[in-house]
Symmetry: C4
Subunit: 230 residues, 4 copies
């Protein structure tokens, strides 16, 4: 894959956020990584989706140094870089402020796995980070947002749980490609919406039995997956 192809992929994935109604104004950004070159392509900061084209996408190295493009990269870039360094198998990251996922992040609640829609994509409850401390906010806010996510994922496989809620903030999702990370953001939003309604119908709703979670997750993602066309 050339760098131009990566920029096209990342631009396309950013525009899919609009198609799936996952963004308001310019809230949201998608990035992708070229692991061989160690380069990350990411949305520029505060640019309208109406005019976004591949040439606007900014390319940086893993230290955040700009390699291609004239615009500033997304202000959330340090979070993306921290995640790419810690989660070595992911290829794309999406950050949104999608409404229902934000509700859970703001309420400081994980999203329990209540059904098979959830289980098809996330292997358990969607984790919630702690709040950043005042010192973490002052010293390196966006970098430390990555830190608290990584801390929360101790012992969790990020490919089996491709999303997180940052407390008081919003979700991040990831995947094997930029497009995958957008799809996981979309599924997360739907799962959050359904979980809210489920809790309204039954506030103490129990999670899905573990054996159903396992079955659904593995029929789509395990070595013997049989969903889709292989």
């Amino acid at each position: 894959m050339t760098l131009n192809e990566l920029k096209e992929q990342v631009c396309h994935a950013n525009l899919e956020l609009v198609k799936y109604q996952l963004v308001t104004l310019t809230w949201g950004n998608v990035s992708g990584i070229d692991r061989e070159r160690g380069l990350v392509a990411i949305k520029p900061s505060g640019v309208s989706y109406d005019i976004m084209r591949p040439e606007h996408i900014v390319v940086i190295d893993l230290d955040g140094k700009r390699v291609e493009g004239t615009l500033n990269p997304s202000s959330d870039t340090p979070t993306h870089l921290a995640l790419y360094k810690a989660f070595e198998k992911i290829g794309g990251i999406t950050h949104t402020h999608s409404e229902h996922a934000v509700m859970f992040a703001q309420a400081g609640r994980e999203i329990p796995c209540f059904g098979t829609t959830h289980a098809d994509h996330f292997y358990g409850a969607i984790p919630l980070t702690r709040y950043l401390t005042e010192q973490e906010v002052e010293e390196d806010y966006e970098g430390n947002t990555g830190t608290v996510i990584i801390e929360r994922f101790a012992g969790i496989n990020p490919l089996e749980m491709p999303a997180v809620l940052v407390a008081g903030h919003a979700p991040f999702a990831w995947g094997k490609t930029p497009e995958d990370s957008v799809k996981n953001s979309l599924v997360l939003e739907k799962v959050a919406q359904m979980a809210l309604g489920t809790l309204q119908l039954r506030p103490e709703n129990p999670p899905l039995p573990a054996y159903v979670l396992q079955k659904h997750y593995l029929r789509k993602h395990g070595p013997n997956a049989y969903y889709g066309q292989k």
Copy 2:
């Protein structure tokens, strides 16, 4: 009806899921049956609605053997087949993860008949299945999803109650044709949305009086139905 016509009907019905906003990504599938030939046409697994055409539709016999088409049929095919075998008068089946119906399925609650919108289409509360046991999940997950639906419908006429909620999962709906089953899925989603709001306004809301349910159902479906153009 030729097999090609059935495939066109089933393709069209699958695309109506998109029109009615009943699906996210590829979650959802519609099938139709040719009772004389004993053949079922169904959506292929994991294919995008953006590119779906009649030639993608897979044709199988009632044992699940592929008769036409090169793609894998929907992974939910064994559930469809079980329902066609048990409910001999239905001609089409739709499975979705529509949001409000899923909320009730996840909360383990039936949808009571609170009003005439419901009564016009479903003759009583929308039934909820039990969870599958661990053994049922391991041995034949999709087939046994059919089993628990059929078990729940003991004594219920599936044409008078053309929908069900599978606990922890999502709805299935059916009808005389594939298109009918899509319409019943749409009505189910609207009825679920209205029931959620009704319960928020009045948690112990009583069901519609039986005589109103009966009147509304029968003015559309009974032998003396007088709704629409005859």
Copy 3:
């Protein structure tokens, strides 16, 4: 106004139900009356909005006898006729199953006037009818739906309160023209949506002070109205 003009108005108003997202499938109907001729134009029963044209609109007299058109009129026609006879100054009627208005109708709750959006269009809480009795349902269901509305409006000016909730069923709204009645249906739906959210934030929310209700209603509708272009 010619009868053809009335049919065009009624057809246009029915299609506005779709534009304003007030209908699902064929649930909903608008009628208009020519008071001089004593003739009512109304949507045909069960015809898709996708193909509806003025020539499909059915014309009947106030006894329900068809004067023009070959299709069956809406099955709710007897309700429309009862309202035209009782409310002599209204010129159009709309019936929908719009979601939030139905939630209140199903929960058996009036919609209190919580704010100026409501007060701009409805002079007080939206009234709720009683349920029809079993005998009323059996003898003349649609006609008696009109009867319970009229009974509820004893002492209420239907032009100051151009909507009602029928218990366990759905709203009817009306106005000086068919188009007016559609607008009132739309406002009712928005007001219902906002009232639901208001009650979620504050279950015992008090109504708007009477002097604000009066001011808002009269600035749009009283003899000294100063809203809009006169």
Copy 4:
């Protein structure tokens, strides 16, 4: 900037209300001010957005005297004028009845700052005015709506808090330009929607820690802002 340019800006901003789904029918209006000339351009009263063009925009002076245009200005004009006089640095004002913001206004609750989406745009909880008294309503309803907003903003910088909820009524938002005020209305509506869901998940939810609020607000708005392209 010529007066024609201001009218074009104000017309465009009014049409953005439609694009962002912030208005129903004609509920809502945007104005802009030319501070040098002391002239305000504002939407005409009750004119449909479908046909609105720059030549419909009405120009008035700060006493409300019409300087250009033949239509009546919005009936909310006295509120706009009062705010322009009191908040000397704002350049545009938007009034809507957007659903979720209205829910809080009707419930008489401020919108707490629960997350960074809120903190990015509003420096603390969205203030709520008191109700107008009966005398205030009778003497000068729209002017006194401005009065209670200004009274509530004693000690608050309107550029740091560019929105308010008028009790029992609806929101007003403002900004440096008409377009800015529309964006703040949109953000307010999203923030209100998310806050409602947050409170449903956790009724006693605490506000965002002050140091996170400060960080987020200042990274977009302070002298050292680093969001977007500078």
